[in-house]
């Protein structure tokens, strides 16, 4: 592949999405104040669908002078990212702020731009593209977090995420500059050769890699770079939390896999131990720290920390099977996580949002369908067969075992036992605790999302074959 070829069609989905974003922004501005949300949301959803369609059809190849690449892996991740964005926008449709107004119409647009950044990350072929995509994605999220300006928690969330995110971006950028300094190039293809050429990778390069790892780990909210997660998850408006738990994670993983398996694949033993350590810490901390939580959004924050740990097991395996396992895990994580957030968004009483786990008491009787869906998601998160979560966990465990990471597998098994406690506690509260006051009936869009995700979680086993083969293709594409 020649670096001089411009080949702009490989980025067609991104271009369409970016143009749509601008159009929607204009359309929203033209509406009366406070009434543009619905139109913007519908248009965004349509844009996501069109973009997703284009992603599936988009040709493989590199473009934009070697800064952009489209392959099976990128398509897989982009579909996941777009799905995450789609679900988040869908959840935001029925969302009402504490003063019972819809979110501002910029919300879907910001989610759209953040998704665009995430897609760029998945397609990056150059450390610079990586950074630009990452910043586009992150800056949008900073704003999204602080959308409810009147809400102290929301403002705090936005502020914290912004400061810590800046720190992480700084670290990442510093790492990139070190790598550039030692390798003389920022293109992945060039980096591959540079790293392979060195008998012993220079210390500066290693330091650069570590800095990049740390920057990405921050995005993944992996321990010990996770500290922002609970506060931000709790403070941000629920649809935004749902978004953060989805698309950006997939993008960060896409980057992680692309950078680590690609340019730095030949020095895997040097960074494998780091990923392993981070994975173990995330799994254990996610399992333990979730136990005393009473707020379900905070609980889901720790849950996502744990899940990122499990997904990183596949990365730590540093093999094609490991990459494939991580991709399958992320797909499973997407369906159950989106379903849970649909349930959380539906938690309203007399029009006001409630977030305490205790508020779910008696849901088994007052809303059996929603309770059943939530129970399915919780069991899936535990990893109970035959639900989606089981296959994800099984595959990463198998991949790690094959790579000889026995300690990692054992820790993973133990921490999922501990984790089962807090997931099943939610089920117990819904079905066995004395009923709290009845929650409002969920909006149709939420029923649609939770029902769809519930079905996906249950029938995951049926479509596992196709998903695995697509993931396998993606993993092969990544390995080159």
């Amino acid at each position: 592949m020649s670096v001089t070829v411009f080949n702009w069609t490989v980025a067609l989905p991104e271009i369409v999405l970016a143009l749509s974003g601008i159009v929607i922004l204009v359309a929203g501005v033209l509406q009366r104040k406070g009434e543009g949300f619905f139109l913007a949301a519908i248009l965004s959803l349509a844009a996501f669908l069109v973009s997703g369609f284009l992603v599936v059809l988009s040709p493989s190849g590199a473009g934009y002078a070697g800064t952009f690449v489209n392959d099976g892996f990128a398509r897989f991740m982009k579909v996941l990212i777009l799905a995450g964005g789609f679900v988040a926008v869908a959840l935001s449709v029925s969302y009402r702020t504490p003063d019972r107004r819809p979110l501002p119409f910029e919300t879907p647009v910001l989610m759209l731009f953040s998704t665009l950044g995430a897609m760029l990350m998945a397609s990056s072929a150059n450390l610079m593209t990586l950074f630009v995509g990452l910043e586009l994605s992150s800056l949008s999220i900073y704003i999204l977090c602080a959308l409810e300006r009147d809400n102290v928690l929301s403002s705090e969330a936005g502020m914290k995420y912004f400061i810590l995110g800046s720190l992480a971006s700084g670290l990442l950028l510093y790492g990139i500059s070190l790598v550039y300094g030692y390798a003389g190039t920022m293109e992945y293809t060039g980096l591959v050769d540079a790293v392979r050429a060195a008998v012993m990778p220079p210390m500066g390069l290693v330091v650069g890699i570590v800095f990049i790892v740390v920057g990405l780990c921050f995005k993944l909210s992996a321990v010990p770079f996770h500290m922002w997660t609970p506060d931000v998850y709790q403070g941000a408006p629920t649809p935004v939390t749902a978004y953060m738990a989805g698309a950006p994670k997939f993008a960060a993983f896409a980057l992680f896999l692309r950078v680590m398996a690609g340019p730095f694949g030949s020095v895997a033993p040097r960074w494998q131990i780091l990923v392993e350590a981070v994975s173990v810490l995330s799994m254990v901390y996610g399992a333990f720290a979730a136990i005393p939580q009473t707020n379900i959004k905070r609980l889901m924050a720790y849950s996502s920390i744990g899940h990122m740990g499990y997904a990183m097991m596949g990365l730590a395996a540093a093999s094609t099977a490991g990459t494939q396992a991580t991709l399958v895990y992320l797909a499973a994580y997407f369906v159950m996580n989106a379903g849970v957030f649909a349930g959380i968004t539906a938690m309203r009483r007399n029009g006001r949002e409630v977030n305490s786990i205790a508020d779910l008491a008696g849901l088994g009787r007052s809303d059996p369908a929603m309770a059943l869906a939530l129970a399915v998601f919780m069991f899936s998160m535990v990893g109970a067969p035959p639900l989606a979560g089981f296959f994800g966990k099984f595959m990463v465990f198998a991949a790690a075992w094959q790579s000889g990471l026995y300690v990692l597998v054992c820790v993973g098994a133990l921490s999922s036992i501990v984790g089962a406690y807090y997931y099943l506690r939610v089920v117990k509260v819904m079905y066995f605790d004395a009923p709290a006051h009845v929650l409002d009936r969920p909006a149709p869009s939420l029923l649609f999302v939770s029902g769809g995700m519930g079905v996906a979680t249950v029938v995951f086993a049926v479509v596992l074959g196709p998903i695995m083969s697509v993931a396998h293709q993606a993993a092969l594409a990544l390995a080159g």
Binding site: I209, P230, R270, I291, V418
Partner: protein, 646 residues
């Protein structure tokens, strides 16, 4: 030939039908009808068994096998449901069914005051009878074991029939557990037989005995004769069922069951299963002299031990229970010297007079409104004349007074013990003769205490009444048996016609002439048991009629001995110390230490650690952005260090 086989099959299987119909259908068909069905089945079975016996007798006791069904067929192992038809099984079947029918009838009267429906009781009795019949009519050891366990189960159910009484429940469990201990040996014995003979079928085993006489069996480097080991194991099994010394502790406690149960199971039939097994295995046992010596020792010692304990018991049923234990000792002693015929003869006569004694005792208990302590009775003979008379007859038979049934069989055993040249046979003879004296003593002690002397409680005596006819008639029938069974059956069981009668059902080795020589003993020796019996009666008369204050004085002056006997040689206490308490202590250690401490405690500790860990983990989450940033940088430094140094 076909007639008696059919009759025999009907006799064996009808009690099962009675048990099933009465037990499962009793709720729907009503108590009375269920009882009628059970008793009718039993009557049919008893008649058929009599018919089979008479026919067989007329035809000279042919051997036959009646195949019923396939049971186990696996590889080289084959077990079928087959009824064995020979002298031993036919006579045993007739005896069991006769006693069982009488006990069924008697139970109608005895159980009439129960507040609950009693069809369950009758169903259990029939079930027991069926199991006992399977045991005696078995053609291989597996079916025998089936019957063996069946009677154990029925015994458990019947001892614990009054399940609301803790003592009855405990006694039932004790009987079951003690029998399990013995059964373990038994089943290992059966396993070794299969190893040695590749079959569990009697005829195959017996015909192969000459080929394996010296087959060795090595255990921990010590070599034994395999036949000895097998016979020893089978004998230990028999010891449990027949309540021989060391495994006898369950029998007295089993008296917690209703009295008809004691009569049927714990006197006439089940406890004789061990003796039956020995007789059935005579072709094997004849070639295990070591085991037979052991049998003599255990039998003779049990005989003496139980009689001594029986002398001082205050409970009327326990006295008779120890008497049973003691009489079983006689039978085993006879087995030990090779006089199997004499053992089975005593088994048969004993079944009549011991069932009679138990049922008569039940009649007394019934009349006294469930009072079992003999010292609270007295002067009852005018009130219970029939019971009094049959009790006399039963006691005369038990004591072995001429010409009652016990005389013939006990005399034969003691003579055989004297005449035998087996080691320890004279020890057994001495023990047996002393026991004859003791037996007479405790029998008449019972009679005098219950029926003579001053009534302890006038009120109770005045309210005592003779039992109804349904209880009296079985007593009369049994007393006829107790009187004439000996003199009628002796020529066939042990006398001139014995070889034609047994027709090979019991085997004496060519070198074993005991059944011919036992009659040629000095006249004094032959007379001694009778004299001893009369002396025992006289002593009882002196102590309990002439000088009623004497027993108490004796008990005071021989305090330690009295207490030793009263406490049954302290066997229960000994077992409690040796087995029960260490076992309970071990169980408590495992319960408190292993189960509650480790199995339950460990998860709780883990839970506590998890909770603490969770709280610690959350405390890191302080909300301070400086700490968050610091943690990130610290993490970066650690990762850097690992990457550079790793």
């Amino acid at each position: 030939m076909q007639t008696e086989l059919t009759l025999f099959s009907v006799a064996v299987l009808t009690p099962l039908a009675g048990a099933v119909v009465a037990g499962l259908g009793g709720r729907f068909m009503g108590d009375t009808l269920a009882k009628v069905v059970a008793i009718a089945c039993m009557a049919v079975a008893a008649l058929c068994s009599m018919g089979a016996l008479c026919n067989a007798w007329l035809e000279g006791f042919p051997h036959a096998a009646v195949p019923l069904a396939q049971w186990v067929h696996a590889g080289g192992f084959d077990a079928t449901w087959t009824l064995r038809f020979d002298t031993l099984s036919v006579t045993m079947t007739a005896m069991v069914l006769t006693v069982s029918l009488l006990v069924h009838c008697y139970s109608i009267g005895y159980m009439s005051h129960e507040s609950m429906p009693t069809y369950r009781f009758f169903s259990y009795l029939s079930l027991f009878t069926f199991a006992m019949l399977m045991l005696v009519s078995s053609n291989d050891l597996i079916q025998l074991f089936f019957g063996w366990e069946g009677v154990g189960l029925a015994s458990y159910l019947l001892i614990g029939y009054w399940y609301d009484r803790p003592a009855a429940t405990a006694a039932a469990i004790k009987a079951f557990v003690v029998n399990r201990v013995a059964d373990l040996f038994f089943i290992v014995g059966i396993g070794l037989i299969y190893v040695l003979f590749h079959s569990v079928q009697y005829d195959t085993i017996f015909s192969a005995v000459p080929e394996v006489l010296n087959a060795p069996y090595s255990l921990c480097g010590v070599s034994f004769r395999m036949l000895e080991v097998i016979c020893f194991l089978l004998f230990v099994g028999a010891m449990g069922k027949s309540a021989q010394l060391f495994l006898h502790t369950w029998l007295p406690d089993a008296m917690e069951g209703p009295t008809p149960v004691s009569a049927l199971i714990h006197a006439a039939t089940m406890v004789t299963a061990g003796v039956f097994l020995m007789a059935r295995m005579s072709p094997l046992l004849e070639f295990a002299p070591g085991t037979r010596t052991f049998v003599i020792l255990i039998g003779a010692t049990t005989c003496f031990f139980a009689a001594t304990v029986g002398m001082v018991q205050p409970d009327i049923k326990r006295t008779i229970a120890y008497s049973t234990c003691s009489q079983l000792g006689y039978m085993f002693a006879a087995v030990g010297v090779g006089a199997y015929q004499a053992a089975v003869f005593h088994l048969t006569t004993h079944a009549f007079f011991k069932a009679l004694l138990f049922l008569a005792a039940g009649s007394v208990i019934h009349a006294m409104h469930d009072e079992q302590n003999m010292f609270r009775m007295g002067g009852l003979w005018k009130k219970l004349p029939v019971t009094y008379v049959v009790m006399w007859l039963g006691s005369l038979a038990l004591a072995g007074v001429y010409p009652f049934a016990g005389y013939w069989s006990k005399d034969a055993i003691l003579n055989a013990l004297w005449a035998s040249d087996a080691s320890y046979s004279h020890y057994a003879w001495a023990m047996g003769s002393i026991t004859a004296f003791l037996t007479a003593f405790y029998s008449w002690r019972l009679l005098f205490l219950v029926f003579h002397g001053k009534p302890h409680d006038d009120h109770a005596r005045d309210h005592a009444h003779e039992s109804p006819a349904v209880m009296i008639v079985p007593l009369l029938v049994l007393s006829v048996g107790a009187v004439v069974a000996g003199v009628v059956l002796a020529p066939f069981y042990i006398g001139a016609h014995q070889s034609a009668f047994w027709n090979g059902a019991i085997v004496n080795a060519p070198a074993n002439h005991i059944m011919e020589v036992f009659e040629h003993v000095p006249a004094l020796i032959a007379l001694l048991p009778s004299l001893a019996g009369l002396a025992g009666i006289a002593l009882a008369f002196v102590l309990y009629v002439s000088a009623p204050q004497m027993p108490a004085a004796l008990a005071r002056s021989f305090g330690p001995i009295y207490r030793f006997l009263l406490n049954k040689w302290y066997f229960d206490e000994l077992y409690d110390r040796i087995f029960v308490r260490p076992y309970a202590a071990l169980a408590r250690v495992l319960w408190k230490g292993a189960d509650e401490g480790v199995v339950e405690g460990l998860p709780l500790d883990i839970v506590r650690a998890t909770q603490d860990g969770a709280l610690q983990a959350v405390r890191l989450q302080s909300g301070s952005i400086a700490i968050y940033a610091f943690t990130m940088l610290a993490g970066l430094v650690v990762l850097l260090t690992v990457a550079l140094c790793g």
